[in-house]
Amino acid sequence: MKRRIAVAAALAATLLGAAACGTSSDSDDVTTSASGAVSGAGKTVKVWLMVDAESSWKNVVDDATKRFTAATGAQVNIEYQQWANHLTKLDATLAGSDVPDVVELGNTEFSKYVFNGGFTALNKTDFENSDSWLTGLSGACELDGKTYCVPYYAGARVMIYRTDLFKSAGISAAPTTYADFLADADKLAAAKKSDSKFGPVYMPTNWYAAMSWVKATGGDIAVKNGDKWEGQLEQPKSIEGLQRWIDLVKKYSKADPAKDENDQAAIFSQGEAGIFYGNTWEKGAAEQVKKDPNDPNSKLVNTKVFGKLATAPMPETPSFLGGSNLGVTEKSANKALAAQWIKYFTDSTSMQGLIEKGVLPNSTALLDKAAAQKGSEAAAAAAKSSWFTPNAEKWADVEKATVMQQMLRDILTGKKSTADAAKWADGQINTILNES
C-alpha cells in the first residue's frame, strides 16, 4: 500500500516535472527520483555517451543496460558522440523537441548547461556512493543546493615513464620530489646525448599540465570574489608555477608546441622520449595499438615500447581531475526512467567494471578499490590530491576561446613574457567569466 503511494508520488513528481518543461525553470521545485518502480514498458530511453565508452568499456554499458531493462522493461537507445562536435549537436538538439534523455558531458562542460536550465534536478540520495562523490566531478553538478548531474568516471594524470631508459640512465626508482624529477630528466638526457631526436620529457602544449604546475606552487586560475570572478594567473605564486612548466618544456621537451596532448601516446610510442604526462589509459594506448583502429574488438598489436612503461604520480603536483558526468535533460519526456538508467550505470557494480578498464570511479570510497587495480595505483593516489577548473557558469567558454593555450604558446614562442601573457590571460578570463 505504502509502495503504491510512493509510486504514485514518484509518477506525479515526474509528470509535474515534465509539465514544467518549456516554462521558466525557476519554478522547478521537484527533483526527479531514480528509485521506486517505474514502468517503462514500450518506452525507449535515449542516451548520449561519448565514444570512449564505446571503444573502451562497452561491456559496462551493456551490463548496466541489461539490468535496467530487466528492472523497468524499457529499452535503451545509445548514441555515441564525438568530442569535436558534441556540444554543437547538443545545443541544436536541446533547442528542439526531440531531445535525448541522458547526456554525458565532460565535467568542465556541465556548469554552462546546468546554469542555463538544460538539465533537471535529481535526487542525490538515489545514487550509490553519492555521499563520497569526487568533488572534482560533482562540483559542476551542484547549484543552489540541488544536484543536476551524476559523476560518471574520472581520470587523473600521472607520470608515465620508460623503465628501460631509467635503468640504463642509472635511475633506480621513480622520482618522489620535483627536484629528483628534474635531476632524472637530466640523467636521461645525458644517457641519450647522441640521439638528436630524443627529448627526456614529452610535453606538448597541454594546458591541464601547465595548470597542474601552477597549482603545485600554490597558484590558482581564478577565484570568485563576491560575485565577480578574478583571474589569478598573474599572481606571483601562479607565475612561479607557470615558469616552472615553461622551463621544463624549453629544456627537456622536443614536442611540437603547436600540438596538444591528443596524439601524445602515439608519438611517445615511437620511443624518442623518456617521460610523458598523461592519463593512465594512455600508458596502454602507448604500449598497444589496435590492429584495426575502426574495430572496437580488434586484436592489439604491440608497439616499440610495449612492456617498458610504468606509471607513478607526478611528484608534488596535484593532478587535474578530468572526467565526465551524466545528466537528465530538462526537456526529457522520460525523466524518471532516465534517472534510473543513470543509477544502474553509476552504481558500484558498474564502477567496478570501469575500474577494471583502468579508469577511476566516481567516489573517494571506491578509490582504494581502484588503487588495487593493477596499473591504476598511481592514478588513484593522484586523484586524492586533485584540482578542478573554476566552477563558473562560463568556464566552458574560456576553454572554447583557447585562452590557456594561447597564453602558453605566446610564452613559448617568445611573443610575450610570462608575466605579460599571464596578465593577458587574466584579462580574458575576467571578461569571459563575468560576461552578463
Binding site: 565514444v51 570512449d52 571503444s55 548514441e79 555515441y80 558522440q81 564525438q82 568530442w83 569535436a84 562536435n85 554543437t88 549537436k89 545545443d91 541544436a92 533547442a95 528542439g96 523537441s97 526531440d98 631526436k197 591528443n262 596524439d263 601524445q264 601516446a265 602515439a266 608519438i267 610510442s269 615511437q270 624518442e272 594506448a285 595499438v289 590492429k291 584495426d292 583502429p293 575502426n294 574495430d295 572496437p296 598489436v301 608497439t303
Partner: protein, 306 residues
C-alpha cells in the same frame, strides 16, 4: 568580347591546324614562332607542375596502403614497405561506413536531381522570358550565393525540426538542394541563353506548344550545361559535413562526416583515415572521368558554333 576578325579569317596561317575542332585536346599547341628550347622548357615546367600537383594525391594513396606502425615512422617511406589492404578493409568494416556511404549517395543524388529540375525551370523563366520581376529574381539568385550557410544553421535546424525533417535524409537533401540551387540556376540560364531563339520560334511555327519546345528542343541542347552543373552540385553535396553533422544523428551521416569522426580521442588513425579518404574521393573521381569530355564541351559550348 570575341567581336573580332571576320576580316582576318582570310589571312592564311602558316600552320594548317583546323580551328573548328570541338575537343580542345587534339589541336592546341601554338608552335608558330616558338623555339625548340622554349618548348623543351615548357614541357619541363609541365612535368614539374604535374609532380607538384599530384604529390599530395600520391601521398594519400601511399599512406593508405601502409600498416599502422609504418605510418608512424619518423622516416617516411615513399613506397609502402609492407603494403597492405588492411586499412581499406578496416574502413569498410568500420561501424556505419557502409551506411554512411549509402546515405551520402542518396542525399547527393536527390539534391542534384532536384536542383537540376527546379533550377532548369527557373533558368528557362529567366532566360526565355521578359517579365516583370525578372531582374529582381536574377539579383536574388546572384546575391544569395554570398550568404554564409553556416550562420543559418540554428534557424534552419529549428525550422526543419518543426517540420519533422531533422534526422532524416530528406531534410538534408532539401537543404543541399537549396545550397546548390543558385549556382545551378545561373549556369543553366547562361546555357539556355546561348541557344538561339530562332529555334524556339521555328518550333512554335511548326505547331509545337511552348512546353514541347522546352522539352524537345531546349532541354537536349542544354545537355552540356546540365552535366556541368550536376558536377558542381554533386561535389558540393558530397563534400558537405557540417550541416549533416548538426541535423542528423550519428547513424545518418554521410561519408565526409564519417571521415571527420576518424579522429578519436586516442589520436588520429592516419592509415584508415587516408583509406577512407580515397574511398570517399572515388565517386567524385569516377563522376569526373565520366564527364570530363563534357566539361570541356560544356565550357566551350557555343564557342565554336557556326
Amino acid at each position: 568580347m570575341v567581336a573580332t576578325a571576320p576580316g582576318r579569317a582570310s589571312r592564311k596561317s602558316a600552320t594548317p591546324a583546323p580551328r573548328r575542332k570541338a575537343a580542345p585536346d587534339s589541336d592546341g599547341t601554338v608552335t608558330v614562332g616558338r623555339s625548340k628550347a622554349g618548348t623543351f622548357f615548357a614541357n619541363l615546367a609541365g612535368i614539374v607542375f604535374f609532380v607538384i600537383m599530384i604529390f599530395p594525391v600520391y601521398w594519400v594513396i601511399n599512406t593508405a596502403f601502409k600498416p599502422g606502425p609504418e605510418v608512424l615512422q619518423f622516416t617516411p617511406s615513399f613506397i609502402p614497405e609492407h603494403p597492405t589492404l588492411d586499412n581499406f578493409v578496416s574502413a569498410f568494416k568500420a561501424p556505419l561506413f557502409k551506411e554512411d556511404l549509402l546515405n551520402g549517395l542518396i542525399v547527393t543524388v536527390l539534391a542534384v536531381i532536384g536542383a537540376l529540375v527546379v533550377g532548369f525551370m527557373a533558368a528557362l523563366a529567366i532566360a526565355r522570358f521578359q517579365f516583370y520581376g525578372r531582374k529582381a529574381i536574377i539579383l536574388v539568385v546572384l546575391a544569395v550565393q554570398l550568404v554564409p550557410f553556416l550562420a543559418l544553421l540554428i534557424p534552419l535546424f529549428l525550422m526543419l525540426q518543426k517540420a519533422n525533417l531533422t534526422n532524416s535524409l530528406i531534410g538534408v537533401s532539401i537543404t543541399y538542394l537549396v545550397l546548390i540551387l543558385p549556382y545551378t540556376v545561373w549556369t543553366l540560364r547562361g546555357f539556355i541563353a546561348a541557344i538561339p531563339r530562332e529555334l524556339d520560334e521555328a518550333a512554335l511555327i511548326d505547331g509545337c506548344s511552348r512546353f514541347q519546345t522546352f522539352w524537345r528542343i531546349i532541354l537536349p541542347l542544354t545537355g552540356p550545361g546540365l552535366v556541368a552543373t550536376s558536377v558542381y552540385g554533386f561535389i558540393q553535396a558530397w563534400n558537405e559535413f557540417i550541416i549533416i553533422n548538426t541535423l542528423n544523428s550519428p547513424q545518418k551521416q554521410n561519408l565526409m562526416a564519417w571521415l571527420l569522426q576518424n579522429q578519436t580521442n586516442r589520436g588520429t588513425a592516419w592509415g584508415p583515415l587516408m583509406a577512407g579518404a580515397i574511398i570517399t574521393s572515388i565517386p567524385v573521381v569516377i563522376f569526373f572521368l565520366m564527364i570530363q569530355r563534357n566539361i570541356a564541351a560544356g565550357l566551350t559550348a557555343g564557342a565554336v558554333k557556326g
